[in-house]
Amino acid sequence: MTLLVAEHLRKQFGGVIATDDVGLTVDDGEIHAVIGPNGAGKTTLIAQLAGELEPDAGRISFGGTDVTRRPVHERSQLGLARSFQITSIFRDFTVIDNAALAVQAHRGSSFHFWRNARRDPQLREPAREALAAVGLGGRADAVAGELAHGEQRQLEIAMALATRPKLLLLDEPMAGMGREDGERMVGLLRGLKAGHGVLLVEHDMDAVFALADRITVLVYGRVIASGSPHAIRNDPRVIEAYLGDTEAAPA
């Protein structure tokens, strides 16, 4: 089943066309990776899909609903979750509070003024499950800002999962990770396929080729190729554009 459809997306910043007629789909149960050199417009694309940026043209539909003009929080309510390239957690809060807040956003109204939300099992138990799913079960009571970098990246995913999404937009989940943390993250992401669609933006090519069912290659805001990992690996345009761009980049 196709969850997300983006068609003819276009976004321009002054003279720079960051997204140029981009179309892609993400199905339930698949990992669709978006790769490309720095400045290819990957994060701009994610921001449009998540609702933080409004495209200048084009259409985004999610689960059959046109969400092109819907704000971020409404898309989240429909089941579209994202994680951030630069860790974006509630640093002052405990780890479990971070996840519980994400649960709370999807469990009834938050206009409750009296009952202690930190003692509400309806919020705490799903939060614990989300933490356990990413391997942070033992760190629930730590202060989020004091976690190690790899753990903060895991918490990013846990918060997205705690919203019970249908689709995850993951913006470089492995950014800044060492090899060991990276391998653990690959295992975690592989496990997410069951029950979620995943749009994965990632620089780590080993991880991308190990995980992705489909790969779309973005260069200067344009899709230059899209297909199976095998096809992408052997696509001369991809090899040329990707390598060429790296070599042409000024030192």
Partner: protein, 318 residues
Amino acid sequence: MRRSVAAVVLALVVALLVAVPLLARALDQPFYVTLFGRIMIWAIAALSLNLILGYGGMVSFGHAAYLGVGVYTVGILSAHGIENGYVQWPLAIAASALVALGVGAVSLRTSGVYFIMITLAFAQMLYFLGVSLKAYGGDDGMTLAARSQFGHWLDLENSVVFYYLVLAVLLAFHALAARVVNARFGLVVQGVRVNERRMRAIGFPTFRYKLAAFVIAGAMCGVAGVLLVNFTKYVSPAFMHWTRSGEIMVMVILGGMGTRLGPALGAAVFLLLEEVLSGYTEYWALFLGPVLIVIVLFARRGLAGIFEPARSSPAPES
């Protein structure tokens, strides 16, 4: 450990406040009832600002406006002979909430310096509106004939009765605030302070929660205004001047933003410093400045931070 220290401090403060009228009578110093009554009224104002400034991170620089709306609603009704407290008080609180709703609906669309400036501008508009109300004293202000009438069971003209009413309101608001900040609503407001972008990404429509917090704080500050006008029996635009807003903010920062006891402690320290130092010099604020600088530089959680546990400390769990 610190949690229990905070509980002991709270108990001591409450015991002291309960004892003030008795001590004042024993020492034949009725002045203390007035002094601590005034401190508690400003503590209520500071408590309300702390909800949005300390917990919500909304730097409202016009909080005295809601105090002023409470003051003027009671004053204007009283000037027209309506002295019934059951009419005055609900109308005054509703008026403060309504003004906060209007100001919040506009200003919360901005953030940072723009938010500070817009809230300040709205408050100054209300200040000049007060100045222009010649029928109600204009610049000079206006004296009230009597305090709000609640019937024989609650005689506000009796200064000790009035004192205990103020204390009851302060304690009720303190308890309410302590519940709210740990309830679902309070966690959302704090989440917005820490990372509003992420709050939207996980599915919260943040604007409506910020606006609700802003209105609640405005209404609570309106109650402080109602108490203040009954306390002074005097209506004046000076209550809404931007320096008043600044003073409430200083009380919150001095006592500790986002702490439970901070606002009340800040109000007490601020007004006691003023009381003592203004006996020596009219430039007493010269001494307040360095104190504030030290607090901001070395004790971000203010005076209450000395004994109150940080909010990020692991909370007791189900």
